[in-house]
């Protein structure tokens, strides 16, 4: 058995106890994802771009839960002229979720994207804001800024300042909305070819938990009263998801907000894992499982600073 099949099997074994349908969950993990993308409305109208792309792939479909999330049978849309001129951005469907759960807030406001590279969410938010307001797109690693800036340039984003800082030492900066799309074990992206490097051990999850706690705590510290914080990861691991939220709720005065996206099937956060109980408010978090919407896995929480 190849190494990646082993990793997939370990994930199935570990998380089957959390899902409603173990067979469908296991099947979905072994089916590769199709390429998905969104239209960059900063440069061109959606219908114009989709009409052109359908000349290359007549089977392009739009999801039922996001009218700007499209799926193609082609796996090389990156070599289309639409990609070259910045009319489309190739992005995993689940990665488009965080801006959608705060759609009601995204107008002419100030936003900090704490871990922004390669810029999928930043460029999506900028398009939703129609290049108005202000985004601070931060990342801790210089090597990742190249892809971030490249994408901002290609998509024509003008309302964004790029900063290079470990977010834990970022100067206190007031904003209306903070996105903490934290580095994680990325187990939820297992359907993408060979993206999960290895089977993680307990210590690895604790290491990620510490990093995620640090990033989310920093956002909570600098967030003014009434501002919103969105925490997300692309992993199944409760240690990196509900546990982080639970520990944060214990430290800071935050109000969890219910989240849902019309036509996207999702489940609540879990309150127990590995003989550990979490704050009951974590039930308001959203879990997206791969077999429910034919996507990656995703976790997201929306909090308001009191």
């Amino acid at each position: 058995m190849d190494r990646y099949q082993n990793i997939r099997n370990n994930i199935i074994d570990k998380y089957s106890c959390l899902v409603d349908d173990k067979t469908k969950f296991a099947e979905s993990i072994n089916i590769p994802l199709k390429q998905s993308f969104r239209v960059n409305t900063l440069k061109e109208e959606k219908k114009t771009v989709i009409k052109k792309l359908k000349e290359y792939d007549p089977t392009i479909k739009t999801t039922e839960w996001n009218d700007n999330a499209h799926i193609s049978e082609l796996n090389n849309l990156g070599s289309s002229l639409e990609h070259f001129v910045g009319h489309i951005y190739i992005q995993e469907l689940t990665s488009m979720i965080p801006p959608l759960v705060v759609k009601d807030l995204i107008t002419d406001i100030k936003i900090i994207d704490c871990c922004a590279a390669p810029g999928s969410k930043t460029t999506q938010i900028a398009a939703m804001m129609e290049n108005k307001g202000h985004i601070i797109a931060n990342d801790a690693r210089h090597a990742r800024l190249k892809s971030l800036r490249g994408n901002l340039d290609r998509l024509g984003v003008t309302n964004t300042s790029v900063t290079l800082r470990d977010f834990k030492s970022f100067p206190n900066t007031k904003a209306d909305l903070y996105f903490v799309d934290a580095p994680c074990s990325s187990e939820g992206t297992i359907r993408k070819k060979n993206t999960v490097a290895r089977t993680w051990k307990e210590n690895d999850y604790l290491r990620f938990n510490k990093l995620q706690n640090g990033l989310l705590s920093k956002a909570c510290e600098m967030a003014p009263s009434g501002s919103t914080i969105v925490y997300s990861t692309c992993t199944f691991s409760p240690d990196e998801n509900e546990k982080v939220i639970s520990e944060t709720l214990d430290k800071y005065d935050l109000k969890m907000k219910n989240i849902s996206i019309e036509n996207l099937r999702s489940e609540s956060g879990i309150t127990e894992w590995n003989n550990e109980s979490y704050n009951s408010e974590v039930e308001k978090c959203m879990r997206v499982w791969p077999h429910h919407n034919d996507t990656d896995a995703f976790f997201i929480a929306r909090m308001e600073k009191c």
Partner: protein, 150 residues
């Protein structure tokens, strides 16, 4: 470090945009122009940050040495406002352009030498330089790409 572009240089660029590409100066309302290292000019509509120096703001739109050189990012974003000095490419030449090749085009003789916007079927490809004989490719190497679908 980025600093606000002085008015003299800004006016040079506004005039260039109008003269060379016919871009109406009204579209620049709300934007702040910055200068950075290597004579690069950035265009942004962002706020000033307190206590932190950003790596960049908005997008790089010009390089201003002796004369202005528009960037591909600039022409891709503002191509819809360009009313003159653009070159419409057929699919074959579009593929060559995206791969970084220079082009010899018979129908460009009437264009005044200088920088031009390259277009394929209302899709704004980027920057080229017409010297009266050859359209020199101005794409940065990082953007060279083999186009399979157009």
């Amino acid at each position: 470090m980025l600093k606000k572009l002085d008015e003299v240089k800004k006016n040079v660029l506004l005039e260039y945009c109008l003269e060379r590409f016919g871009i109406n100066p009204n579209i620049w309302e709300g934007y702040i122009w910055h200068s950075g290292s290597k004579n690069k000019i950035y265009l942004a509509n962002t706020l000033e940050l307190e206590r932190i120096i950003p790596e960049s703001k908005g997008i790089c739109i010009f390089r201003l040495d002796k004369s202005p050189k528009p960037t591909t990012n600039f022409l891709q974003l503002f191509g819809k406002y360009v009313t003159k000095n653009y070159v419409e490419l057929d699919n074959e030449n579009t593929i060559k352009y995206c791969m970084g090749e220079d082009l010899i085009l018979e129908n460009s003789k009437s264009i005044i030498p200088g920088f031009v916007l390259m277009v394929n079927n209302k899709r704004f490809l980027g920057c080229g330089h017409w010297n009266g004989e050859v359209l020199k490719n101005q794409l940065p190497k990082s953007k060279f790409c083999k186009i399979n679908f157009l």
